[in-house]
Amino acid sequence: MTPQPFKLLHLPIVALRKVLQLLNPIELFELSQCSRRAFSVIPLSGSKKFKLRINQFSNSIHANSYTFHMYHNDLQPAYILHGNRTFMQSTVKMRHHSEREIISFWDDRLVGLKAVLFHLLTVFNCTIECAMFSQRVPAVIYMSMIDFISSRQSEIKELTIWGDGLTDKHVTEIFDKLRVTDHLEMSHRFSRAPSIPLNSKSISIWNSAWITTQHLNLMKHCIVIELHRSTLTDHDITLFLNDWKSGQFPNLQYSSIKSSFLGKNFTAFGLPSLQNTVNPQYYARTIFGSPRVIFGAIDFQRDNGVVAKFRFDDQDGDLQILLF
């Protein structure tokens, strides 16, 4: 075949679909940049099924196993660039870093993260599976991402709710718009106890001063419960322990509940000590991709005969349970 330009978009739709299905997310993205018409045919590739994941720690977005990084413009001189690309209305410098990685350069990396996210969701016509944030994002950027995501989907597998300046209203709104199915992580401190669903499989709340027994009861089907800086009292914890022992919280594999509001004389199940100080061992399991470790635990049998590793540290008010 002679190497003259090929009329790709004149192919019959079945053939065009087959061709596009053979391209990876980065190749499809590059093709989408060729023209508006090329942009519009990308969903034929089946890109709707792509799994997009935000990793704010590395300021990148993953589409299957292909990565779109967002770097600060200051880093440009260190790299050989490969032209410009347009993400929504922003045209920026970019680099093909490897077969599976693209880097785009931005004045503000978070603005870049948002633009690339919006662009990829639009071009691939897919949903986002996971949006994890490792540091505070300005509320205005965070909420615009949430609004865009929730305009396209009502469920997300994993979500971190963590924004600089997020109000109670914002957070309640997020719960109204998006159901977090697998893992919810949040650091927002509510000014008063909210009425929100807490039914994700795994919940980590870094600032859980607002958590009450009612909230704990909403978590009865959780697999992981991690509560830091709670204000739960002796009575609350005793209720929780009795419920757990009697077979409620049937799916619970790991919990770590920390409270500085426990009385000095509080003991779990009225037992004097629930730690192994003679021959303490590490027990670790990976649950939902995160290692869950417990040190110096003792065996504790629930009413249904299931034995769990159990530890209560009365120094820092930390109650840990691990099914091992």
């Binding site: 330009p5 790709l8 053979l22 190749e27 590059e30 023209s35 090329a38 032209g83 077969e99």
Partner: protein, 203 residues
């Protein structure tokens, strides 16, 4: 030529857009799902009209089918590096126009193996390339071309709609006179017009 479906020695006559006919073996033809759906069980009286495609294209397509008759059952697209020397020659000796015609014919005849190999070959042109490199290997319609194409499509669709309305109007008038045969005639006309309308829209 009428043929029983099972006999691989049976030859079928194929008619091209030029009105020319040529023989194709039943075994080769059976690689076409379109043929299987249309003629396999009922056979065909006279040449099978694949008159949207010229003789050269159809011969090329069936050359491929004849060649792959004895190959193992198709199990998904092969990597280009795994193609046989014969396959590579087959593709290399086509110019782009013929290649596109072959894809179109293969797509219509629903010959999965050939369509997939053609698509893999096109994907290979794009694989690992950035936007600038892709623009060099593919021709993209300009805004003017798109606009012109859209205008032609609209014009064709409007014309087809007008004809369809007229036919329906005529059919309604004559329906009461000879109810059954006319109804059949109208239905046939409507079907033809719908097909034509759809083919305009898909162009």
């Amino acid at each position: 030529m009428t043929s029983p479906a099972s006999s691989s020695e049976v030859k079928y006559l194929i008619e091209s857009s030029e009105g020319n006919t040529f023989d194709v073996s039943g075994a080769a033809l059976r690689q076409s799902n379109t043929f299987n759906a249309m003629f396999l069980n009922i056979g065909a009286d006279g040449p099978i009209p694949f008159t949207d495609y010229n003789e050269a294209t159809l011969k090329k397509v069936f050359e491929y089918c004849e060649h792959s008759v004895n190959e193992e059952n198709y199990s998904g697209p092969k990597h280009q590096d795994d193609l046989s020397k014969w396959d590579l020659n087959f593709f290399n000796e086509m110019d782009q126009k013929m290649f596109i015609d072959v894809i179109n014919a293969s797509n219509f005849l629903d010959i999965e193996r050939l369509t997939s190999y053609c698509c893999e070959r096109i994907a290979r042109m794009l694989r690992g390339k950035n936007t600038q490199e892709m623009i060099k290997v593919i021709t993209l319609p300009t805004a003017e071309e798109l606009e012109a194409k859209q205008k032609v499509e609209e014009k064709k669709a409007a014309a087809a709609k007008k004809v369809a309305e007229k036919a329906a109007e005529t059919a309604e008038k004559t329906e009461t006179l000879e109810e059954l045969p006319v109804q059949q005639l109208v239905q046939t006309t409507r079907n033809k017009l719908t097909r034509k309308y759809l083919s305009f829209s898909n162009e």
